[in-house]
């Protein structure tokens, strides 16, 4: 078929968390440039199944760029060469016929590989569990308009809330740091009236949990924001740092 591509894939294959994996070569034949990257893997997996080879395991769910499941490090970049998208929104027109594409899982000790390209991102869940929420223990829902908030602040909080927890920030960071992920939640709730009550204990607990999970230190390379599918900015990290210092200097906890 005209316009279709033949590609060589180098894919990380790893039987389970305990095994040591390696890169294996696969041919992806007759790939339409209109396919998404995940559809291309689907096609390769179909052919592997027919050959009796174990298909490549990879995380995917919504396939419309909002769930953050599709974690792939493609040709040395989180979610591949395009910006502000997840792997499912990456299309094969971004590659050329005959190209070799290397596909690896997110690499971080806090994100151990479960199988092939699937990593365990439950460290993120535990960070959120540590304080990334608002407790409302009683009463009915208050009318939204009774809580005044400036448009600019609401917008900034919304930009932070757009984080889908995909982990590209950790994958791209040379230090495997989760600071951008953490800062998005801290910043979002620090900006909103609903987040005020637990503001100080939240940032302290979440940062403690991040340390425990074994993520690295932020060295402000800004690679995280560059690869973030939701383009979450560095100013959220600065805000989280301020929140943390404020909490350390004045929180009720000794």
């Amino acid at each position: 078929m005209s316009g279709h591509m033949n590609l060589t894939l180098k894919v990380w294959r790893q039987k389970d968390a305990k095994s040591t994996g390696k890169l294996e070569n696969y041919e992806a034949k007759d790939i339409s440039p209109d396919m998404s990257f995940l559809e291309m893997i689907d096609v390769v997996n179909e052919s592997l199944i027919k050959k009796g080879v174990e298909p490549i395991a990879f995380d995917h769910d919504c396939r419309e760029g909002i769930c953050g499941a599709c974690s792939m490090y493609i040709n040395g970049e989180a979610h591949g060469p395009k910006r502000a998208i997840t792997t499912c929104q990456l299309h094969m027109r971004s590659f050329h016929d005959g190209e070799t594409i290397t596909i690896e899982p997110w690499r971080a000790n806090a994100f151990p590989v479960i199988k092939d390209l699937v990593v365990d991102r439950s460290a993120f869940d535990r960070i959120i569990q540590a304080g990334g929420y608002v407790s409302v223990n009683t009463g009915v829902t208050i009318d939204a308009n009774s809580i005044p908030i400036e448009k600019e602040i609401a917008d900034d909080a919304m930009d932070a809330a757009a984080c889908i927890g995909c982990g590209a920030c950790v994958a791209a960071c040379k230090n495997a740091s989760a600071t951008l992920f953490l800062s998005a939640k801290v910043s979002q709730l620090a900006l909103l009236p609903q987040g005020q009550a637990e503001r100080q204990i939240r940032v302290e607990a979440m940062i403690d949990q991040m340390e425990e999970e074994g993520f690295g230190n932020c060295t402000n390379t800004e690679a995280c924001s560059a690869v973030c599918p939701k383009e979450i900015g560095q100013h959220h990290i600065a805000r989280m740092n301020r929140e943390f210092f404020g909490a350390k200097l004045s929180s009720p906890k000794k």
């Binding site: 993520f215 060295t219 560059a226 100013h235 740092n241």
Partner: protein, 233 residues
């Protein structure tokens, strides 16, 4: 551990505060040091520089600050090494193919290596000049100057030592390379320090960027140009 030591030792955000504060202090030191170095360019046989050296090594306040300065250099090095070690251990299995150049600056990724280069430079620099001035590696000749109020002062002739060293091509080369490493280190380090301290705002981030250029651009250039001027003079 108290809340304070726990913060600065065992949280990533706290550790970076130590890097930021010591780093910014060392930046102010660079500015003062360079201002002093310009005395070398006076065509007065070294009088201005030698009197300045005497002042800098005998004034009690300056001496006290110099001890703080050495302590901060040490803290910056030790904390930097510790953070680098922690960061390396956060990813034991690396990528087979990695393309970090598309998402981050060279300076930000090579801070540890650039810092090590600066440390090596610093050891050579202190051995060359500080040890010579202290009389450990050399016995500098004394020189007498008559001040404006007819007072006579006898000081060590540091200028002749610097002048001699800066006519050695290898020494000049080391200084230029050291300052290039410093420039790259501060290109990331200066503005990164403010980010670590949580100081980022559309109102004053542009000022930090502008002042940053003085520190990563003009100051290392100033340090590098002095040995070159002396070499070619």
């Amino acid at each position: 551990m108290s809340w304070f030591t726990k913060t600065v030792f065992s949280t990533s955000v706290g550790r970076k505060v130590i890097m930021a504060l010591t780093g910014l202090f060392l930046c102010t030191f660079l500015a003062v040091h360079l201002a002093g170095n310009f005395q070398l360019l006076h065509q007065d046989g070294g009088e201005a520089f030698n009197l300045y050296t005497k002042f800098m090594t005998s004034n009690p306040l300056i001496k006290a600050i110099s001890y703080v300065n050495f302590a901060f250099i040490l803290a910056h090095v030790v904390w930097g090494a510790y953070i680098t070690y922690k960061n390396k251990s956060a990813r034991s299995v690396g990528y087979a193919v990695n393309n970090p150049g598309k998402t981050s600056s060279f300076s930000s990724r090579w801070m540890g290596v650039l810092g090590t280069m600066i440390l090596i430079f610093l050891v050579i620099h202190l051995k060359d000049f500080k040890m010579a001035y202290l009389g450990i590696t050399k016995d500098l000749p004394m020189v007498t100057y008559t001040l404006e109020n007819d007072e006579k002062v006898i000081v060590k002739d540091m200028f002749s030592e610097v002048n001699l060293e800066f006519h050695e091509p290898i020494v000049v080369g080391i200084y230029v390379i050291g300052m290039i490493a410093l420039g790259f280190h501060l290109f990331h380090g200066f503005q990164s320090a403010f980010q670590s301290l949580g100081l980022r705002h559309p109102k004053y981030t542009p000022i930090i960027k502008t002042v940053g250029f003085v520190f990563w651009g003009l100051i290392p250039f100033g340090f590098a140009i002095i040995p070159l001027i002396i070499f070619f003079r």
